[in-house]
């Protein structure tokens, strides 16, 4: 395990993006923690290696900030009672904001890294 300090750095960088990914996952409806992890894994083709464990603190934090809410509910497919998380109105607004900021950032970076010869901003 890396020294405390470096790990703290990494967590800081990832926290914002992880939050965004989680919120996005919840757009389509309430999901439980394990399912969120699996979903992220699947959709990114296992590219994003996130320890499953970091989800739960993130979820609790999001709930503390009022961006998600949670409750115990029966999951028919897994046949047990699990904690389901749901996006709140505030969470939705936050997600939209984060999305646009992320887009702006990536556009800016793309422009710097791969400037188009004719001045147009990529496809």
């Amino acid at each position: 395990m890396a020294p405390q300090r470096q790990r703290d750095d990494r967590i800081e960088v990832l926290r914002g993006t992880l939050d965004m990914l989680i919120l996005k996952t919840l757009v389509l409806g309430p999901v439980h923690g394990h399912s969120i992890a699996k979903h992220i894994q699947r959709t990114t083709d296992d590219l994003l290696q996130i320890e499953h464990g970091s989800l739960y603190p993130a979820l609790h934090r999001l709930e503390d900030k009022g961006l998600v809410s949670s409750k115990w509910a029966l999951s028919p497919e897994r046949n047990r009672e699990l904690r389901f998380y749901r996006l709140t109105v505030r969470g939705k607004r936050h997600l939209l904001r984060q999305e646009s900021r992320w887009k702006q950032m990536t556009d800016a970076i793309a422009r710097l890294m791969w400037p188009a010869e004719d001045g147009s901003t990529g496809s």
Partner: protein, 880 residues
């Protein structure tokens, strides 16, 4: 808010998280066809997950702090000896600062217990003598001046006057006894905001006007002390008043702590009885100065403005009433009235003294802190392994530092508690031994605020003490201490420790030098030849203005009074003067030497009118020429005596006998017929100033005499008889009679106290320093045990080993000594005003102090050294 709610529900949240994690592992296991281990690994470090989640819930810092405190507490308890040593050391340091701070708080910081104390002032006649920056040296004024002030002053809201020269015959079971009483003018109570007495009522307006009534009020403390707080005191006749003609009837008891003149007189001298008088009604054109004036300034008026107005008024009065006695005595045009804020007056010269004490206490605290830090540092060295393990397990450096600081915080708070307890005793001791010149002693007490300040100081000290070693020890990475031998690491922290010990010694030196200088001053002051013989000498001040005797011209009046006193059994000799030794000179002149013109400025010279037996009676020797004799009568040539200081200052050592000097610009001149030795005037430490004596037969300026009486038996026994004898002549006033020896001793009270206090600090400092040195040497021996054992095993001389240890100890002390001597030279200057007969850079004191310290250091190093010598090399080496 939500955070607090979460923290409250933490139990619930923890359980939820547990369940979620379990569910996650279960689901993952299902997905991985039962491979539970892989599932768990996929989840990651659960401890960290829990930690992170807890961080999200907030309130974690509180939990961590509680946890740290628990661990810290365990550590402290596990090493009781060390913990006790540190706590006691810190306690001593903190007690010193708390005690002094309590005193400063009571004397200087607490506002006076009156309404709007900032606008209260006192007005008085200005004398020479430095009190404090911005504070004038004020004395009482005359009725004339008070009346004129009242009439002319525009900057005051109220002006009231108090006359202190009153004694009241009190009826006691064993007979009558005079007690001090104050006359107060109307308006005192309103001005100070005291409108409700503790019992009974205040004076009625008519009681101030008529001199028939015998109304008195008693102070709260007197009521408690003498009358046992008896509520039946109201209406009781307790003695006589107004010259004994009317019964003194108690109409009320004043509230506790009410002492209108506490600013001007020390706590111990507060009177128990007050009676009313309207000074405006008194006719006094003689300018006799016995009234103290208090006032309240109008809104928005500054002290300076009021001061200049008062000065102006005194100049006007001097011009319009040149015959007023007080003005003549004080040299007419040079007479000035001045003004001080009441609070500033109360503090007076004590600000400097208290500042000195606070400085010394701070040094002691610094020393104690250093000692504690050094003691803890040694233990921290031994715990470096523990710290490394903690850090290896993931505790951040900050966490470990916080742990250490918690421990030292514990110890410091324990020290603070001990210190506060000691401070209670310290304050008691101070109150008992404090010189009478310290005002507001009843306001000095340890209250909640001071306890809070002490607690804060303790915490600050604890953090400071813990921070240094903790930061030092956690600087390296976790692995080194676990591998290396502990003593190889000793270097950086050992240097820190050495510095601390040297620092302690330096501080101890500074305190010792200070104590030495003050002690020296005190001894010299005591040894000062006062120029008088204080053995069996008493003074009796008799003001005979209101009596039949007052109608006689001065020489006859004095003769009459002195004759009466001589008739008292036990009196060997009695003589008269205008001012006795150790009193404020009442009369001063502006001498003019032959050859001076109107522009020459010479300082004021104290002047005395004396009877012919005076010099013999007080024991001042005549050095040349002659004393006054019976041929020096009114009308014969005017003569004078001068003292040695006068000869040196104004005659430059030439023989003055026969010269004629003038005592004022328009004086015809007096011939010098004799030179007397220097005698103390007001204070021994002022040194001897020029003085001139004239015969009482050629002087007519007063209506009182200070009789100096030499007795055959101890003067205390006949004081009362002397008073009675005088009051037979002057029934309306009980005279002030004192024993000269007591008066002289009282002047030494303050220097003695200063020397005592600083010496106490110095002794405690030396002890702590010695303990610190001992501990450092013991630790040094402990660490070098291996090395020393090898030396001995290889055939080294035990004496050599002893030398190694002693050398180190001596080197340590010497460096501290050098530092301390330099520091004390720098700081000794601040002692300047308190020293007498010694320079701040007195080499003898420094040498003596250094010798003492080296001796103590040698002793402190000798013990561990001996232990080092007696070490058995085999046991040590086997243990490795």
């Amino acid at each position: 808010m939500r955070r607090l709610w979460r923290w409250w529900n933490r139990r619930e949240l923890e359980q939820r998280l547990e369940r979620e994690l379990r569910d996650h592992v279960a689901l993952e296991t299902e997905d991985r066809d039962g491979d539970a281990d892989a599932a768990r690994r996929a989840l990651g470090n659960q401890t960290l997950i829990r930690e992170d989640a807890r961080a999200a819930w907030g309130g974690i810092w509180l939990e961590r702090l509680a946890h740290d405190l628990l661990i810290a507490g365990r550590h402290v308890v596990r090493t009781p000896m060390l913990s006790l040593a540190v706590a006691v050391t810190l306690g001593l340091g903190i007690s010193a600062t708390t005690t002094i701070y309590t005193i400063i708080d009571g004397v200087m910081l607490r506002p006076l217990p009156y309404e709007e104390p900032a606008t209260l002032v006192t007005v008085g006649a200005v004398s020479e003598g430095f009190v404090a920056p911005g504070v004038q040296n004020l004395g009482p004024i005359s009725i004339l001046h008070f009346q004129q002030l009242r009439r002319r002053a525009r900057t005051f809201d109220t002006l009231v006057a108090v006359n202190t020269r009153r004694l009241m015959p009190l009826a006691l079971p064993e007979g009558e006894r005079e007690v001090p009483a104050h006359e107060i003018s109307g308006g005192v109570f309103d001005m100070l905001g005291t409108t409700t007495p503790a019992l009974g009522r205040l004076f009625l307006p008519q009681e101030y006007e008529t001199s028939q009534e015998g109304a008195v009020m008693i102070s709260f403390e007197e009521w408690q002390r003498r009358y046992g707080a008896d509520p039946g005191i109201i209406g009781r006749t307790i003695g006589r008043i107004r010259g004994g003609r009317f019964p003194a009837v108690v109409v009320g008891v004043l509230p506790a702590g009410f002492h209108p003149l506490e600013a001007l007189f020390a706590t111990g001298e507060q009177p128990g009885y007050y009676f009313p008088r309207a000074p405006e009604r008194l006719s006094d054109d003689r300018g006799w100065e016995t009234w103290y004036v208090l006032g309240r300034l109008k809104r928005g008026v500054s002290i300076d403005q009021a001061r200049s107005e008062v000065e102006r008024i005194s100049a006007d009065v001097a011009r319009e009433f040149p015959q007023a006695v007080g003005l003549r005595q004080r040299n007419g045009s040079l007479y000035r009235m001045g003004l001080n804020g009441l609070h500033a007056q109360t503090i007076g010269a004590n600000a400097r003294v208290l500042g000195l004490f606070l400085g010394a206490a701070a040094l002691l605290l610094a020393l104690a802190t250093m000692n504690a830090a050094a003691l803890l540092l040694a233990r921290s060295l031994d715990r470096s392994k523990e710290f490394s393990i903690r850090m290896a397990l993931g505790a951040g450096r900050l966490r470990v530092v916080r742990l250490v600081v918690c421990e030292t915080g514990f110890l410091a708070v324990a020290g603070g508690t001990i210190g506060t307890l000691i401070a209670y005793g310290g304050v008691e001791a101070f109150l008992r031994f404090a010189p009478a010149s310290m005002p507001r002693l009843d306001a000095i007490a340890i209250d909640a605020r001071i306890v809070a300040i002490t607690a804060a100081t303790s915490l600050a000290v604890g953090i400071a003490v813990g921070l240094l070693p903790a930061l030092g020890l956690t600087r390296q990475g976790p692995w080194q201490p676990l591998q290396a031998h502990a003593w190889a690491l000793a270097e950086p922290t050992s240097r820190l420790r050495t510095t601390l010990v040297a620092g302690q010694i330096a501080l101890a030196i500074v305190l010792l030098v200070g104590a030495g200088l003050l002690f020296n001053s005190f001894v010299r002051m005591r040894a000062v030849d006062l120029g008088i013989d204080t053995d069996r000498l008493a003074t009796v001040t008799v003001s005979y203005k209101d009596a039949a005797v007052g109608r006689l011209p001065l020489p006859q009046a004095w003769d009459r009074v002195l004759a009466e006193l001589r008739a008292v059994p036990g009196v060997d000799a009695a003589a008269g003067t205008t001012t006795a030794p150790l009193q404020t000179p009442f009369w001063s002149v502006h001498v003019r030497m032959p050859g001076d013109d109107a522009g020459t400025r010479r300082g004021d010279v104290a002047a005395y009118a004396i009877t012919s037996g005076y010099l013999d009676t007080v024991g001042t020797r005549l050095l040349s020429g002659r004393d006054f004799h019976d041929l020096d009568i009114p009308g014969s040539e005017r003569v004078a005596l001068i003292n040695e200081s006068f000869v040196r200052t104004h005659f430059n050592g030439t023989d003055p006998l026969g010269s004629i000097i003038r005592l004022a610009e328009r004086d015809e001149g007096v011939r010098i017929v004799g030179v007397v030795e220097n005698a103390v005037q007001q204070r021994a430490e002022d040194g001897f100033r020029p003085a001139v004596y004239v015969p009482y037969t050629q002087y007519g300026g007063t209506t009182f005499v200070v009789a100096v009486v030499r007795t055959t038996q101890p003067p205390e026994t006949i004081l009362n008889d002397l008073r009675l004898a005088a009051s037979r002549l002057v029934p309306s006033l009980q005279p002030d009679a004192r024993v000269m020896r007591e008066t002289a001793a009282a002047t030494l009270a303050a220097p003695r106290f200063r020397a005592l206090l600083i010496s106490t600090f110095a002794v405690v400092a030396t002890l702590i320093g010695a303990v610190g040195l001992y501990a450092a040497m013991a630790h040094f021996v402990e660490r070098r045990r291996r090395e020393l054992s090898i030396r001995i095993a290889l055939g080294g001389n035990r004496a050599q080993v002893l030398r190694v240890v002693l050398e180190r100890g001596v080197r340590l002390s010497l460096s501290g000594l050098a530092l301390g001597v330099v520091a004390s030279l720098a700081l000794s200057r601040t002692l300047g005003g308190f020293l007498y007969g010694v320079e701040p850079y007195d080499p003898m004191t420094v040498v003596a102090v250094s010798a003492i310290l080296l001796l103590v250091s040698a002793a402190a190093s000798a013990l561990p050294a001996r232990r080092a010598v007696n070490v058995d090399p085999l046991t040590v080496l086997k243990a490795e």
